[in-house]
Structure formats: C-alpha cells, structure tokens
C-alpha cells in the first residue's frame, strides 16, 4: 500500500504531506508559546515590582546567543539549498555547522543557567525568574529536539539521498522549517526577557 503525496506535491493543494504536517505542528507550537507569552504579560501587569530584565540577566551573552541562532538558521537554509543544487558534500558541511551552532547555543545557555544557580537565583525566587526559566527551558528542549532530528539527517538518515533524493530533500526542508521556528521563538524571547 502506498500513501499518495508523500514525495510529490498534490496539485490542488500545492503541498506534500509532511510539509502540511509540519505547518500544522508549528501552529500548535505558536499556541503553546503564545499561551506562555500571554501568561508573562498577565503576570507582569499584575505585579507591583517587576524587575528590569537587564538587571538580572547577562545581555551580552543573550545577544551572542541570538546571533548564533540566526546564523544557524542561515546555514540550515544553505544545507537545504545545497541539496536542491544536488551538492551533497556542501549539505554535509552546512548541516554539520547548523548542529554545531545549536550546540554553541546550548553551551552558552548552560553557562547562564549555572551563573544564576550560583547566585541562588532559582525559579522559586520570584515570578520573573519562574517565567524566565520556564520559557527558556522549554525553548532549550525545542533546540535539543531540532538538533536530534538534524543529527539524524546528517548521519544515518542521509543514506536516503542515494535511494530517494527528492524525499530526503523534503525531509531537510521540513526539519528546517522547525529549526527556523525555534529561532523565531528565541527572537521573541530575547527582547521580552532580557531587554524589556
């Protein structure tokens, strides 16, 4: 039995299945982070003494991480574009870079966490820290998830390039869409938590 449109696009919708799937998944993710951002607003509005983010968090490190993630989004696009241009070794390079940049992000993040814990700033200390750790923690989980998928596509999953190049390219595209989303969430998180 063959499921239609796993590789080719359906003419009247212009989509292959996984692409629609990932967009729907991202819609639910928007609602997830949207709910957390709304909670942030509600908690902040109701609070008499909300701290200024920059007085607690390390803005230079946050900025660095923002740049890291944006760069990784670019390399992710390059990885996909290389496949479209049938250049497999370039794909390996750019995908590898994307994974590496994800790793850099996580290392920087763990330094930030470590510094906070060192100063006894735990989630339970204030509602500000609670939402900071919840939002960034959930985001970090998404980064890890994206990296696992990318690592699979870079390593064992890339064998599909030999057997079904179109499908493999689609997979990279789909994983890329998720990765851009993770990047986008951070671009909202950073100003909201660090700067405002």
């Amino acid at each position: 039995m063959e499921i239609p449109y796993t590789v080719k696009t359906r003419p009247d919708t212009g989509l292959f299945n996984a692409k629609l799937g990932i967009w729907l998944f991202l819609a639910s993710e928007v609602m997830l982070f949207g709910a957390l951002f709304s909670s942030y607003v509600l908690l902040r509005v109701g609070s008499p003494d909300w701290p200024h983010g920059s007085s607690i968090l390390n803005v230079p490190l946050g900025t660095l991480n923002t740049l890291v993630l944006i760069t990784s989004s670019i390399t992710m696009v390059m990885a996909w574009a290389s496949l479209v241009l049938k250049n497999f070794s370039k794909f390996k390079l750019y995908m590898g870079l994307t994974i590496l940049l994800g790793l850099v992000f996580l290392v920087v993040k763990s330094f930030e966490y470590g510094a906070k814990f060192h100063h006894h700033m735990f989630p339970k200390e204030s509602v500000y820290l609670a939402i900071y750790f919840t939002l960034t923690g959930l985001h970090a989980l998404h980064v890890i998830g994206g990296m696992v998928v990318n690592a699979y596509l870079w390593g064992p999953g890339s064998k599909m390039w030999e057997t079904d190049p179109q499908r493999f390219t689609n997979r990279v595209e789909v994983s890329g869409l998720f990765w851009h989303f993770v990047d986008l969430v951070w671009i909202f998180l950073f100003p909201v938590l660090y700067l405002l």
């Binding site: 039995m1 063959e2 499921i3 239609p4 449109y5 359906r10 919708t13 989509l15 299945n17 996984a18 629609l20 799937g21 729907l24 998944f25 819609a27 639910s28 993710e29 609602m31 997830l32 982070f33 949207g34 709910a35 957390l36 909670s39 509600l42 908690l43 109701g46 609070s47 735990f122 989630p123 339970k124 200390e125 204030s126 509602v127 609670a130 939402i131 750790f133 919840t134 959930l138």
Partner: protein, 584 residues
C-alpha cells in the same frame, strides 16, 4: 469468512505481518481505531464505576456501602464509609476520565480513525506511524492516570478543572494527573495534525470539499480545535508542574494562608491565570465532545430518512462558525471571578452568538426528518434520541450564558445537568448509534435489532432519570461539590429526596447496558451475515470489502456524487453511491 474471499487483498497487504505488528503495534488506521475504541470503552466503564460509587454517598451519605464497601481500603472507605477526600478523588477522576480518556478518544480516536479515511477514499491516514504514536501516547496517559490512584493521598482531588491554588498544594496525585495530561495532550496533537493532513491531502479523485460527508467536516473542525486549544493547557500544565515541583508561584498570590499559616512561597502569581488557560482549552473541548457526535448522527439520519440532508451547506458553515467562535467564549465559565462589566458583556455576546450555529445544525437535522420515509432501525433510534437530548442540553445553557442568571446557577447541579445532557444522552447516544451503524462494516455481521431496541428505550428512560432532577436540585441551590448530597444544608431539604431516585437510575442505567454487551459479543460471532453495504448507504466506506483490508479499497474510488444522494429522481434505486459513475 466467505464474504471477503471474493475480494482479493491488494498487493503488499498486512496479511503476512506477525501478530504483534498487525494488531498491537499496527499502523493501519482501522486497527488503531479499534484499539482506541476498546481502550476508551474500558475507560468509559471505569469512569462510570467511579460515578456509581459517588452516587452511593450522595443518596445515602455516611452509610457504609454494602458488600463491596470494604474493598477500597481503610485509607478511602474505612468500614465501607466513604471519606471526603476519596469522594473528591472520585469526582475529579470521573470528570477527567470521561472527558479525556473516554469520550474524546471514542468520537475522535476511534470513530474518526476508522471512518474518515474510508469516507474520503484514502488508503490510510497521512502519517500511519504518527497515528500509532498518538494511540500509544494516549495509552501511556491512561496508565499514568490509573497509577495515580495508588500514590499516597490517592488520585487527583481538585476537580477535573484542577483549579489553583487548591491544585498547587494538593496531594501527589495531582502531579501524576499533570503528567498524564501531558501524555494525553501530546496524543491529541499528533492525532489532530494527522486528521487535518489526511482530509486535506488524501481525498480521492472527485472528492471535492462539498462532497465530503458531514462527518468528515465535523472531524476536521474538531481536529482544529484540538490542535489550537490544547497547547495552552499544556503550557498551564507545565506551569502547574513548576509550581508543584520547583516551588514557583505562577498561580499562588502573595500572602496566601493555608491551614492558618502563610505559605512560604515567593507569591506574586495569580489563580485567575490558571482559569483562563484551562477554559481556553475547556470550552473548545466541549465542542470536541459534541461535533463528531453531530457528524455521526447526520450520517445516520440521511441514511434512514432516505433523503438528502436539508441544508448540508449550512451544516458545514455552522460547524466552521462554531469552530471559530469557540475560541472566544471561554470566560463564560468565569463570570464569578469578578471580571469587569465590559469584559463580561463581550463574553455574554459571543456565547449567545455561538448558540446560533448549534441551533442551525439541530434545526436542519429536524427538518431533514420531514417527509422522509423513516426506517426506525436501532442506529436511527439512537440518532433520533440524540436530537431532543442535545436540545435540552443546549437550551439549558442559555441561562448560563448571561451573567445575571449564571451567578446563582454556577457550580450547582444545574450546570452538571446541563453539560451531562449534552455528553451523556447526547454524545453517548451518538456513540451507540455509530456502533450499531458501522458494526456490520467492521465485523461483517449485523447486530440484533431486538436487543438494540431494548437497549435504546431503557437507556433513554434511565438517562433522563439521572439528569432531569439535577435541574430541580440545581435551581434550589444544591452545590455540585457537596460530599453529603446536601443532607447538612437546611435550605435544600425540599429537594434532596431526589438523590435516591437519581442514584437508582444510575445503577439501573448500568444494568441496562447488559443487553448491549450481549448484543455486541454475540453478534460479532453469531450475528446475521452482512453484505458490503447492508444499509443501502451512499458514502464511500460502504464501497470497500467487509471488513476493509489493509489499504482499504480494491481500486481507488472516484467520486461523482454528493454525499447524501438518496431518492434522486431518475435513479434506479433509492440511493446513489458517491462512486457510482454518472450514466452518459
């Protein structure tokens, strides 16, 4: 079985898979649908048992439960007398299990999975492996919920709504409740993505949007509700977990006093936040419970009146409108939280607006009966029973929509009566209707009409026996959370004699399911053989062999007709299957 030897299995069938791949870790939408159906039926029964226990305490407060009372241990029912904490657990878990583990998995997971791909002419769901993952996430969530009964302090006991701060400081069961919910939410999200992608991508040739059976439309809207409404509850669940495990204060205000002592937390949070996030899911969720039921009923009414549904398009647009509006009515569950008059005016307006499409659907279905030559089969009886029951449920919602009338009714048995009319004699009747209707497709055999009719009429009587008095009690002010059914409250003495009546009705309702169970098992083995299309129906699920093989259709069907082309003028028979070629 002789019936399907005539239909050779398509190539690459699941024929030679080992048992565990074929029936346990299957990726076939029909097997997954049945897995959902069996698991969810178990939970429906389980949730029903919890409620029957509660009904003992409500009818005979403080009296030991005979015979089985001592089975529940001294921590719950010492000497067979129910402790208040145990009663609270039963209430919270009854609601949780019925909503998230029984009804939604039945109407969406079971019926949706089995029927949707067949009705759109697809070989399977878009993502069969994701489909299996969705079932196993659901199963895990169910196991976690069951396990939570055995942790110290018992299962969650802060109501199915888990309001904070109560839930923040509740016993360990609440933590497991949250973990279980995360599994269930994951399952629903995976399912929702799969349903939408399947309906958009895998419609067969000729199956245009307005040739989709209404059941498919209903499932599509349901999937969108699940997709977009569940994540906020997941966010809320994560925050409540943080509150409980990392001792944050998302839902705890400053200076909260518990048992005479100020709680040692940072404070600064707000309990209202939980309510907003919960009901942002909670309200769309009630339409998740009812829309697929409307879909089932529509199929059966069209088939048994032998005429097209009146106003098919208005049904579709009503369902879409419901889908949209259900995201902006949630605060009607929160009138008592002291919101401003402007906010409350907004939510009163949207709530009344959303009743309009529901009434359109109900009216269209009623008008569809008019002038039909109705066949009173068992599925049709249940479908017909659904209509007035849903009507009562809906109409009793109107007074709740208005702030002024809601304030005295909130958290009374009136509310319990209101939503149970929708889910119990409403959705559950639709589920029974669906079982009787599609059983021949699944098993190749018919169910007994005689037993079915007994089952219908007795269920109808006892359902009303349980829920009708709830309105009387509620209007007299009986609160939904009282553990003694009102015995210790002076002002409700005039209405609490109903408690015994309601409880006896509930136990009788359990007994009259016996004919159904006999029917189900007996017919599966010994029932009359069914043809591929025993009801002379038009939609595509009847164009498959019985039971449908892996991959469903022998050749991919092509659709030429509207979903309910019954009694078309000029046609030879009184039904024109969707895939019957148009004669030149």
């Amino acid at each position: 079985m002789a019936t399907h030897s005539a239909h050779p299995f398509p190539k690459s069938s699941a024929h030679d898979l080992p048992f565990w791949r074929k029936y346990i870790f299957s990726t076939d939408h029909k097997i997954i649908g049945l897995q959902y159906g069996i698991t969810a039926s178990f939970f429906l029964f389980f949730g029903f048992c919890l409620m029957m226990l509660m009904r003992w305490q409500l009818a005979y407060p403080g009296q030991p439960l005979p015979v089985i009372g001592t089975w529940f241990g001294d921590a719950n029912m010492p000497g067979g007398i129910m402790l208040p904490e145990f009663y609270n657990s039963l209430g919270a878990m009854h609601g949780t299990i019925m909503v998230f583990l029984a009804i939604v998995p039945l109407v969406f997971g079971a019926f949706g999975n089995y029927i949707v791909p067949l009705q759109i002419g697809a070989p399977d769901m878009c993502f069969p492996k994701v489909n299996a993952a969705s079932y196993w996430a659901y199963f895990t969530g169910g196991v976690v919920m069951c396990y939570s009964f055995f942790v110290p302090g018992g299962a969650a006991n802060s109501g199915w709504t888990s309001y904070s701060p109560l839930a923040d400081i509740a016993t360990e069961g609440q933590t497991w409740w949250l973990i279980g919910m995360v599994c269930l939410i994951t399952s629903s999200l995976l399912g929702a993505i799969n349903f939408i992608a399947t309906i958009v991508q895998l419609r067969t040739k000729g199956m245009t949007w307005f040739r989709l059976p209404f059941f498919v439309w209903a499932q599509l809207v349901t999937a969108f509700l699940l997709l977009l409404a569940f994540p906020p509850l997941e966010a809320a669940g994560v925050m409540q977990l943080m509150d409980r495990l990392a001792h944050t204060s998302f839902f705890l205000p400053s200076g909260l006093v518990v048992s005479g002592k100020v709680l040692e937390v940072s404070g600064g949070g707000t309990p209202i936040l939980w309510q907003h996030l919960f009901w942002f899911l909670g309200h769309p969720e009630v339409y998740v419970l009812i829309l697929p039921a409307m879909g089932i009923v529509t199929e059966i009414i069209a088939n048994n009146t032998r005429k097209p549904i009146t106003g098919y398009k208005s049904l579709v647009f009503s369902a879409l409108t419901i889908g949209f509006l259900s995201f902006i009515v949630w605060a009607h569950h929160m009138y008592l939280t002291g919101m401003g008059t402007k906010v409350s005016a907004f939510f009163q307006t949207t709530t009344i607006l959303i009743s309009v499409p529901s009434v359109i659907i109900l009216t269209a279905l009623f008008i569809s009966l008019w002038g039909g030559s109705i066949r009173f089969t068992t599925p049709m009886l249940f479908a017909l029973g659904f209509l007035p029951m849903f009507g009562i449920g809906g109409l009793t919602g109107i007074p709740l929509a208005f702030n002024a009338t809601d304030i005295p009714l909130h958290d009374t048995y009136y509310v319990i009566g209101h939503f149970h009319y929708i889910v119990a004699p409403g959705t559950i009747f639709a589920i029974f209707a669906g079982i009787y209707y599609w059983f021949p497709k699944v098993t190749g055999r018919m169910m007994s009409e005689r037993l079915g009719k007994v089952h219908f009429w007795l269920s109808m009587i006892f359902m009303n026996g349980i829920f009708l008095p709830m309105f009387i009690q509620g209007m007299a002010g009986v609160s939904r959370r009282w553990y003694d059914g009102g015995a210790s409250y002076e002002f409700v003495q005039g209405v609490i004699h109903w408690n015994v009546f309601m409880s006896v009705s509930a136990w009788c309702l359990a007994l009259v399911q016996i004919p159904f169970l006999i029917n189900l098992f007996w017919s599966a083995c010994k029932g009359k053989k069914a043809s591929d299309n025993p009801w002379d129906a038009t939609t595509l699920e009847w164009a498959t062999p019985t039971p449908p093989p892996h991959g469903n259709f022998v050749v991919p069907p092509i659709v030429y007709h509207n979903p309910y082309d019954y009694s078309m003028s000029g046609a030879k028979k009184d039904f024109t299957p969707q895939n019957q070629p148009v004669e030149a």
